[in-house]
Amino acid sequence: MKHRISALFLGTALALAAGSGAMAQDKTVKIGVLTDNSGLYSDLGGAGSTLAAQMAMEDSGLAAKGWKIDIVSADHQNKPDIATTIARQWIDVEKVDIFMDVLNSGVALAVNNLVKEKNAIMINTGAATSDLTNAQCSPNTIHWVYDTYMLANSTGQALVKAGGDTWYFLTADYAFGHALERDTTAVVVKSGGKVIGGVKHPLNSSDFSSFLLQAQASKAKIIGMANAGGDTTNTIKQAAEFGIVAGGQKLAGLLLFITDVHSLGLKVAQGLNFTETFYWDLNDGTRAFSKRFSERMKNKAMPSMVQAGVYSGLVHYFKTIDAMGGNPHDGAKVVAKMKELPTDDALFGKGTIRADGRKIHPAYLFEVKKPAESKGPWDYYKLIGTTPGEQAFRPLSESACPLVKK
């Protein structure tokens, strides 16, 4: 007991000292993985994100250098109010330094504000909304993996070029769906296409037949699915049932994850085009990581790009605080340093972080393989195009982010 109390005093003293900036050698870090652990997005983030954080910590070698790293994880249930309550508790009581994953755009925007107010850090690998690095950008947030602008830019442009010049949207009715529809519409119009209608459906719907019939009646060449997770898989499955693809209309999965393709099966998913920034079978580095990851997953799943992003983001974070010689517990300061250093890891390759918090790396346009082309479980994608990082994301000249100096 005595030891515990003295340890507590020591800890408090250290924290105070670090707070005053007098001692830079505070080597404690607390990482919070805030994600959907039980709902429709839990396969693409969830426990896999926590595992990725764990692996990043083990691989960093920081423990051997005297660092003490803790990882906590919580389920935000896709509800912004629950997420901010947890986030507040984490920052105020548990002294969490950095938030990882934070999927769901509604949740991400809410946590984004809190993290800025409390000067913590968020490396967002899960949410899609491009607002995180545009109007809502923050000196404490880095948007790591993908965003709606990039998805729209890559998939949208490719489909319009291939002749899909009339669009109808099926949109999940919350921040993410709205952002994705807005950004895709902009790209479609810019590329010479036309949006002839759309319908907004509630998040987590199980029946899409009504919406699909409306899409079918619109006669649009492309039905853009501005939704994700279980909503997208059910849409695709039911579209096949209603003969939508057989009738000549094409489905555009604007945001699809490998876990979705796995769950649909190749027979239903074959031929879909969509964009991701990570695939386990891209190169030796991604394969080696994914193999280790999959062995430790309960259902032997390969990592999604969200989970891979958690690993990659933390690798860079660890590198940065190690270079700083200690954890200043000052979110904006660490993020500024992270933006100075170039990023480099086995999963996303070499890259940079822009002033607006956008992490830059290439975007890959994939097509889902036919069942005959697949050599086994998780062998699902064919790479059909690569957009270099500088062109994949919103150019800084169009940015509404106040952090960008013009």
Binding site: S42, S206, D207, A217, T233, G265, V268
Partner: protein
């Protein structure tokens, strides 16, 4: 106008799931006085059972329609024997809490092993007669493309619903059941094994849920949370129809499916709430539900 017909038909399809599920709930509530919150989880188990039958034993859809309800029904009867029977005579709340807990545990276990995105289950492609490939494909009705499978779901569930209603309201066995609910002691005096009958009734209600699960497996992904998403709506259906009323729950099930379908057409943003708005209105005007009798 064409679009409207199509939405009506689609609504009817969803309504058949509501009807099958709310019917099971109504049977269980009417006979056992238990608010069975595990119904969604049992529905999900039915779909998973079909998936396992196909992928582990090579047993296809048609057999799954029979086997899955029996397997899950037996699981239900074990639940009733080991847990639910001790709650007889207590307040409804105890049964509700117990079954809610069971639902959370069952869903948690499935999610732990199978994740949240679900597993694929295809529409059956046999028997093959001429151009027919089982229930795959569809028919162009002029105003819409009707997948054959959806048509099958409507007809099949309508038949099952009516058969259940007939069994309970028009047969000797049903008469015993209803009598046992009214006055178990008296019925026992006639030499009828009331506890066994109650167990079988619970099994029947659970079997109906599992059957709905098998029916929905080819339409929706087989997901651990497929029931949790549906069960709240189904409870609203039961409340609107009148707790424990067999015919009431069948008719309300189909009717609400149609109303929801129309909402998806006219004001899609409200399609998840329209059922609950109706529930509130019905409760305000007629607290026992549309066909319920005052207790």
């Amino acid at each position: 106008m064409q679009a409207l017909y199509a939405q009506l038909l689609v609504g009817l399809i969803n309504g058949s799931f509501y009807a099958l599920l709310s019917l099971g709930l109504a049977v269980i509530f009417g006979m056992l006085n238990i608010i069975n919150f595990a119904h969604g989880a049992l529905y999900m188990m039915g779909a998973f059972c079909a998936y396992f039958l196909l992928n582990l034993a090579g047993i296809g859809y048609w057999w799954a329609l029979i086997i899955a309800p029996i397997v899950v029904g037996i699981f239900g009867m074990i639940l009733e024997r080991t847990m639910l029977q001790w709650l007889a005579g207590l307040d409804h709340l105890y049964g509700l809490l117990l079954t809610f807990g069971i639902a959370l545990i069952v869903q948690g276990v499935f999610q732990n092993y199978f994740g949240s995105s679900g597993l694929p289950y295809a529409i059956p492609d046999y028997p093959q007669i001429g151009d027919w490939r089982g229930l795959q494909g569809g028919i162009n009705l002029g105003f819409m493309f009707l997948p054959i499978y959806r048509g099958w779901v409507v007809i099949f569930s309508l038949v099952v619903c009516l058969a259940t209603w007939f069994l309970i309201e028009k047969t000797q066995l049903g008469a015993y059941l209803r009598a046992a609910t009214e006055n178990p002691t008296l019925v026992r005096a006639f030499g009828i094994n009331v506890p066994r009958m109650i167990t079988l009734t619970y099994g029947l209600g659970v079997g109906l849920a599992a059957l709905a699960g098998v029916l929905s497996a080819p339409i929706n992904q087989v997901r651990p949370l497929m029931g949790a998403d549906l069960i709240i709506v189904v409870f609203a259906v039961v409340v609107i129809g009148g707790m424990g009323s067999i015919m009431g729950s069948i008719i309300t099930g189909f009717a609400l499916g149609v109303i929801e379908g129309l909402t998806k057409y006219f004001y899609p943003e409200a399609s998840n709430t329209v059922v609950f708005v109706l529930m509130v209105l019905v409760l305000l005007v007629k607290p026992t539900g549309l066909t319920g009798r005052a207790a």
